[in-house]
């Protein structure tokens, strides 16, 4: 099918976008890569009275390292393909680099954006899971409040529901740079390469003197939002990274799935358990870095 009719605007600056969102935000949809929005519009699952195309806003382009090297900024127009090829991301945010392998198909990656994926908050998408794992900072801008920064762990409210208000534009995401001795892992199950995950796992921790510190273990595709396991972090803290611990943590995350949120809970638990064990075992075994 074709998208229903809409009004189209193509502003050239963030201020103009914010002005439009300020006056007409509740009727408007922001068009960046359009690789989720446009199919939804074509299928008539979604519609917009006003489509605000941000593709000409140059301020929203680019991937850059902050001066203090604390984070990598990914602008709202950075395509998945650019993130996948970015040396800055590969070096400083290995979790996202690893996750990009699972994001969609080539032609989709050429258009789709990292920030668009975050703003949409599809529960089986990779970028929200990475953002929660690393607690990335989402930077919103509006005419009334200017810049507002929201930690990823407070951004995702539910299915396609986030802390972004109708009058706000997600202008960039700030990915925290890896610390020394950190490890990251990512894996997912899907029916076809590049499709949305049936179950996915993302994790990061530090391994200092052979002991685990600050484990962030996230499952996604298993509920309305990426799920950070507080219990896994507590159990892993100070322990040695052994295959036995990987199994213990996998069981914890699988048990945490909520039968009210997931269909076929036993299958999802089994998949989560297997995937988490596989991924954590590999992550624990990787040789440590020299930092």
């Amino acid at each position: 099918m074709k998208a229903a009719d809409f009004e189209y605007r193509c502003p050239g600056t963030i201020d103009e976008v914010c002005e439009l969102l300020h006056s007409r935000g509740s009727d408007a949809r922001v068009l960046a890569g359009g690789q989720s929005l446009v199919p939804a519009m074509n299928l008539r699952l979604s519609s917009a009275e006003l489509l605000i195309d941000i593709n000409r806003v140059q301020e929203l382009e680019g991937i850059s390292l902050s001066d203090d090297e604390a984070y990598v900024r990914v602008g709202a127009l950075a395509r998945h393909a650019q993130v996948a090829e970015s040396k800055l991301i590969a070096q400083h945010v290995p979790l996202v680099h690893e996750a990009m392998r699972y994001v969609a198909h080539p032609a989709i990656r050429n258009r789709g954006t990292c920030c668009g994926s975050l703003a949409l908050a599809d529960p089986s998408a990779e970028m929200p899971a990475c953002a929660v794992t690393l607690n990335a900072t989402l930077v919103l801008q509006s005419k009334s409040d200017g810049i507002r920064k929201v930690p990823a762990r407070e951004f995702f409210f539910g299915l396609y529901d986030t802390a972004r208000r109708d009058d706000e534009l997600l202008i960039e995401v700030l990915w925290p740079c890896r610390k020394s001795h950190s490890r990251a892992g990512f894996n997912e199950l899907s029916r076809r390469h590049g499709d949305f995950a049936l179950v996915g796992i993302a994790a990061q921790c530090q391994i200092d003197n052979g002991r685990i510190k600050d484990l962030a273990l996230v499952t996604f595709g298993t509920g309305p939002t990426p799920r950070l396991s507080a219990q896994a972090a507590t159990v892993a803290e100070g322990r040695r990274p052994t295959p036995q611990l990987a199994q213990e943590l996998a069981t914890i995350t699988a048990d945490e799935l909520d039968p009210d949120e997931v269909a076929e809970i036993e299958i999802k638990r089994h998949q989560t358990d297997a995937l988490a064990r596989r991924m954590l075992t590999k992550m624990f075994q990787e040789p440590g870095d020299a930092n």
Binding site: M1, A3, E7, V38, N42, H105, A107, G194
Partner: protein, 160 residues
């Protein structure tokens, strides 16, 4: 709600510059087929899944059904007609023919677009990686074996 908004756009299609009036809701592949008369790019699912409508915009392969024509204003669009006329796709097309990598041919323009992007990238790729790369293109008659064969052949040759 109907706005019937129409936009004036100027773009380069297969190396030729042109100006058009398009309804803003018309997607790029419909525009190419109906307004420009380039029917080589095919319309399959209209939801970004099948890859039959793949075209290049500013050198990158994209889904023609997931971009509105108005978004191509000022951009350079290449279709299967363009890369055939220029000879850019000739080697890959020959490889498809030699290996019977098509039956009905509906998916072929999209397959060639995706395959050519892989060839042009100069990346060293395994068969598994070619399959991954093609995972966004559906073929409903031959299966993918001969298509992977054809792309692999050209990837290997272009590396030598």
């Amino acid at each position: 709600m109907r706005t019937n908004q129409v936009a004036e756009i100027t773009l380069t299609i297969n190396g030729e510059r042109g100006s058009f009036s398009v309804p803003v809701r018309r997607n790029l592949v419909d525009f190419l087929r109906h307004d420009v008369g380039l029917t080589g790019s095919h319309v399959g699912c209209e939801a970004g899944i099948c890859g039959a409508c793949n075209v290049r915009v500013d050198g990158a392969v994209v889904r023609g059904c997931l971009m509105f024509a108005v978004q191509a204003n000022g951009r350079a669009v290449d279709t299967i007609e363009g890369i055939t006329a220029s000879g850019e796709a000739a080697e890959l097309q020959q490889a498809f023919i030699e290996r019977n990598a098509l039956q009905c041919g509906y998916c072929t323009p999209g397959m060639l677009m995706t395959g050519l992007e892989l060839v042009n990238s100069g990346r060293v790729v395994s068969r598994d990686e070619i399959r991954e790369e093609l995972s966004g293109n559906f073929c409903r008659c031959t299966g993918y074996h001969a298509i992977v064969d054809a792309i692999e052949h050209v990837v290997e040759r272009s590396r030598k």
